[in-house]
Structure formats: structure tokens, C-alpha cells
Symmetry: C2
Subunit: 211 residues, 2 copies
DNA sequence: GAGCGATGTTACTGTCCGGTAACATCGGAC
DNA sequence: GTCCGATGTTACCGGACAGTAACATCGCTC
């Protein structure tokens, strides 16, 4: 049983687990360190022995989210070795799961909303992660044979970010419900006519895949 | 000078102006009522004579944002009477301006991130506004001769929401920089092949307009 | 069992916050 | 001038918050 494992897990891990859950549900400024320590089955003193400050805990929390995203990319590549097309489909499926899991959107994007100080150490983590996600996706699109891979990656990022944030304010029947279909259509458009993009002006034909 | 007018403006209006500025820049939980009252050139007591609570002030603040969005729609229709195509272009231009003004995204979406309580009175304002924006845009698309107007409206909403939130975490050189080009491409795709959408499976050809 | 590092407990500081009470002041209406 | 409503001023409450100090306890190693 994971419960028994959780009891013997070292305090730092338990604190991070609790922080992740609470920060995700209530936001960074909506949770105090006392609540996190209590949810972790420990106390504030131990928390501050492992994390210099609440801000440092936030950074560690966001790094954990980034790390999980890395794991997802690793799984995508492992489960579809040497098949970029399948990897792109897998990315799409997992993106849809991200949107559907709950209505709280992306932890990184939400953190960016709350961390209004420009110099906050967590902002670097957020910015690097978002740039990394975009670049990974662009490389994947490129491997999948799409020439305008950067434009497609940016478009898919916009759709995904939009869907995740839109679900928070417009519900699961709002625009976010069209994410999968729209993303598939866009991908097919880029596949069939590689010259599509932002600076060209020509015709292209599209094939729509069955969902 | 607007300063002189501001001095004689009634306290309630000054409070709302100050609240809007501070909430926008620092987030709802990042600003106290004292700071708002002081920025409005008044005090907490007067603030509480005009607003029952901070939550009610937040609701009024968000209603102000909604009201300004309504004004924008009114301007779009006034400046391009009986020309849905021009209105759609105008919408796109104003959407791009929304993204470019600053890096703080949509006040409504940001508020939704911070207001984690499901029953918060402000959530209704947010949800109604987002649904209204989507419906207005869908009707505009329909008037512009697009048959799959709902799907296009949802797609444009996703792109816009994505661009606004993405600018906060990925900067102005990130995916949000592709909003205009992508949105124009999508619109042209829907114009040229009305059968494109989420449930069909057929071929289509696309024309890309010069930006 | 002695020693030691990690953890738990309690109590505390200082600050900020949302919200309220009591009273002073101002300005216009009559 | 008198009245009255709106506004300003000061002080306060109770609670939450981030962060710290001092001390107790546990569990492991040797």
C-alpha cells in the first residue's frame, strides 16, 4: 500500500507532495506553510530545515512539475521509438489528458499569474520550462516531417495553453472541448502543405484524420 | 488635466480605478484594501461604505473589465457597419492589441486562477463574460459567411487565451508572437472550406492571405 | 549505552490583512 | 445658521501569515 510507504517517506518528499497538491488546488498565495507542513504530517520547523523560505519551496515545487513533464516526454519517446508521427499523436493524447484531468490548468502558467514580482526566482523555472516544451515539440514536429515545425509547435502551444486556461473560466464545454479536433486539423494542414505559415501566400490542401 | 478631474471624481469611481490598476498588476491576493484606498486618495472606511467586502469589490472590478470589453465590441460594429468581414479583421487587430499591451494577460482569466473557491460570486461574472465573448465571436463569424462559425470561434478563443497566458510565461517572443498569423490562417481556412471542423473527415484546400 | 543527527513540539515575534467602531470634518440644502 | 449626508481620521480587533528560538525526542551507529 502506498500509504505505508508514504508514512516512511522522508519529510522532504512528503512536504513536496503536500505542497504540490495544495499549491495546485489553492494557488501559491492561497496556501500557508503551516497548512503544507500539516498536510505533510510534519511541522513548520522541519519544513524550514529543508527549504530556506516559502519562495524556495515554490521553486522546488515547480521543479517537480517540470520533472514530471520531462518524464512524459521520455515516455512518449520510449513508447513510440523511431516513429515521430506516433510520438506526435501520443503528445496530442497526453495534452488532451492535461486539459481533462481537472479544471486547474497548468501549474506553471498559474504560478506565473501569481508571481507578479519580475525578479522572483521561480519565474526563471517557468520561462525555461515553457521554452523547453516549445522546443521539444518543434523538434518532434520536425522529425515528423513538417518543415514549418516551429510555427506548428507555437500554434499547438497556443491551443494547449488556451485550452487549459479556458477550462478554468469557460468550463469543460467551452472552447477547450475543441482542442483535440482543432489541433489535429492544424497538424494535418501543416503535414499536407509544408509552405503554410506566417509569411507565405499560396494554396494548400488538407486531410482531416478521423478522431 | 485629468488629475484635476480625478480629484473631484467621486470616491467610488476613484476606488474602482485604483482597484483595477492594482489588481491587474499584482493580482487579487497581492493587493490589500488599504493599498487600494490609499491609491484612490481615500481610506479604508470610505471603501467599505461603497463595497460590502473585498470580494464585492473584486466583482465590481471584474464587471468594469467586462463593460470595457462590451465597449470594444460596440466600437467594432460602429466602425465597420454592415461589414462582417471588416469586423472580424477589426476583432483580430484588437485581440492582438490585448496581447501586446502588457504581459499580464486577461484580468478575467487571471482572476479565475486566483479564485479557487468554487462558489465565489466573481466566478459567475467570469464564466458569463467568457461565454458571451465566445458567442459574440461565433455570431460575427456566422455573419462573415462562415458555416462552421462555432468551431472557428472556439479555435480563435483558444488561440487568443493561449497567446495571452503564454506571454506571461514565455515572453513576447514565444508562441504568442504567432497569434496574428496563425489566427489569420485559420480564418482563411474556414472561409475557403466550410466543411472543415471536428467531426467530418474529408479533403479541403486552403488559401493563405497575405499578412 | 553513549553520542549524534534528524525530527518533533511549543511558543514566540512582527507584520499584514479584512473588517469595524467612534468620532471629527466638510459641504451643500433649506 | 442649521441640519444632514458623505467623507475623513484614528484606533482597534481577531486572525493568518512567514519565519525563528529553545528545547525535547527519536532512531540509528558505534
Amino acid at each position: 500500500m502506498p500509504d505505508e510507504l508514504a508514512v516512511i517517506a522522508p519529510p522532504r518528499a512528503r512536504i513536496l507532495t503536500a505542497a504540490r497538491d495544495l499549491f495546485h488546488r489553492h494557488g501559491l498565495r492561497g496556501v500557508g506553510v503551516d497548512a503544507i507542513a500539516e498536510a505533510a504530517g510534519t511541522n513548520k520547523m522541519t519544513l524550514y530545515r529543508h527549504f530556506e523560505s516559502k519562495d524556495e519551496l515554490i521553486v522546488a515545487y515547480l521543479r517537480g512539475v517540470v520533472s514530471e513533464a520531462d518524464d512524459i516526454w521520455r515516455d512518449i519517446e520510449r513508447e513510440n521509438p523511431d516513429d515521430a508521427q506516433a510520438q506526435l499523436r501520443s503528445w496530442l493524447k497526453r495534452a488532451e489528458e492535461c486539459i481533462s484531468v481537472d479544471g486547474r490548468g497548468c501549474d506553471l502558467a498559474n504560478a506565473a499569474v501569481e508571481l507578479t514580482e519580475t525578479g522572483h526566482p521561480a519565474r526563471r523555472v517557468i520561462e525555461e520550462m515553457k521554452a523547453d516544451q516549445r522546443d521539444r515539440l518543434a523538434r518532434l514536429c520536425r522529425r515528423a516531417g513538417i518543415t514549418k515545425s516551429e510555427v506548428l509547435a507555437d500554434t499547438l502551444m497556443l491551443l494547449l495553453e488556451g485550452a487549459r486556461v479556458s477550462r478554468q473560466s469557460a468550463g469543460c464545454n467551452g472552447p477547450s472541448s475543441k482542442f483535440i479536433a482543432t489541433a489535429q486539423t492544424v497538424i494535418e494542414t501543416f503535414k499536407s502543405k509544408p509552405r503554410m505559415g506566417c509569411k507565405t501566400s499560396d494554396k494548400k490542401s488538407v486531410h482531416k484524420r478521423e478522431s
